[in-house]
Symmetry: C2
Subunit: 235 residues, 2 copies
Amino acid sequence: MILAGDQLRIGAIIFPDMDQIDLTGPFEVLTRIPGSDFQLIWKELVPIRDVKGLVLTPNSTFAQCPQLDLLVVPGGPGQQQLMGDEGVLEFIRVQAAQVRFVFSVCTGALICGAAGLLRNVRATTHWTAHHLLPYFGAIPVGARVVVDGKLISAAGVTAGIDGALRVAALLRSDELSQQIQLAIEYAPEPPFASGTPQSAPSEVIAAVQASYKELAAARLATAQRFAERFNIQPV
Amino acid sequence: MILAGDQLRIGAIIFPDMDQIDLTGPFEVLTRIPGSDFQLIWKELVPIRDVKGLVLTPNSTFAQCPQLDLLVVPGGPGQQQLMGDEGVLEFIRVQAAQVRFVFSVCTGALICGAAGLLRNVRATTHWTAHHLLPYFGAIPVGARVVVDGKLISAAGVTAGIDGALRVAALLRSDELSQQIQLAIEYAPEPPFASGTPQSAPSEVIAAVQASYKELAAARLATAQRFAERFNIQPV
């Protein structure tokens, strides 16, 4: 990359049963920003497994991690566990007070919600969890990437790539983000028009919803608990 | 996922200085095929680092790896090293004789070329290396994903996601691939029209080409050596 830049401290929380591409998509884009340093953060420096078994190895702990410029919060089924972990939520809150941006991917938005970052903030998340955003006081937006102040949120899973290109443009420049897009040849051609519930065939939606049934019920129960605790009336 | 399926043995070669999303993109898609088992294969069971420092941990060695149904060959700068590694090339040749598909992503196509898999085969690769395909006897095709017999090739980096959805459809069904696409919310919205040299602004192309200059020269020299050794006249 040609455009120079100052040092940029990026950190992403990784955790058991996360969805790995919520992390590896943004990693691919953001590590190409000149001067960037990308930390993978967990409680201990021991490898964790994503929901499909990919082993990810942290290189920082919550305790070690310095103040970041950009905090990335990925999602995936393991997000449920994190939402009850006050240590993780406190780390997010403390970092969020000083970062330039918090960037949530997929159901990472729910974790940010649990940390209290979504009150009166416009946000998006995975389509199976989008209706839960108001339980955290968020204003749900039907968009692939939403920028509201210092909170940037991407929709489900692969939306982290689109979101990260937006983040790169905001942190540096459109031209650098375009260079990264060209380097990673990001000119997608999905073979089907099945990437959203608005475009997918109804039997495909039904099958995916069935596969998410248990997780969706657990997420709703968690969201309801948060709304009660923080006295939020979801609308 | 609703559609059941037989067992499917998938293996991807991982190696130092690879480009991690060439692997993690297909991993995200293909591990959602019911009955699939995904091996990350390297010489030893020791972690390796991708070109930007992501630590990837293999769970099989070349020696341990059983016959696969699908062999994934990612790319990235470290591909140069692999092309001179006869042990790796022999593993690819032996596996390729019995697999249902070999799936190359990005400059993984060059590794397949070094293994002799591209003779008279239609293929694609990263745009900065596309002109090198004829040195391996391949017929270069300007497409994001190319299927020719048992060789499926994806263009640069992020094209591995598009390619993997095609692979899932070929191995199972369009409906399963559509379910996966919906689950990973793959309805991309790149923020710029800068994903190919056909669409990117000329100054963006020049900057990226400058950043690839050294690697591109090394890849050309390697391709020329292969063409000479195998007596191929690149056209």
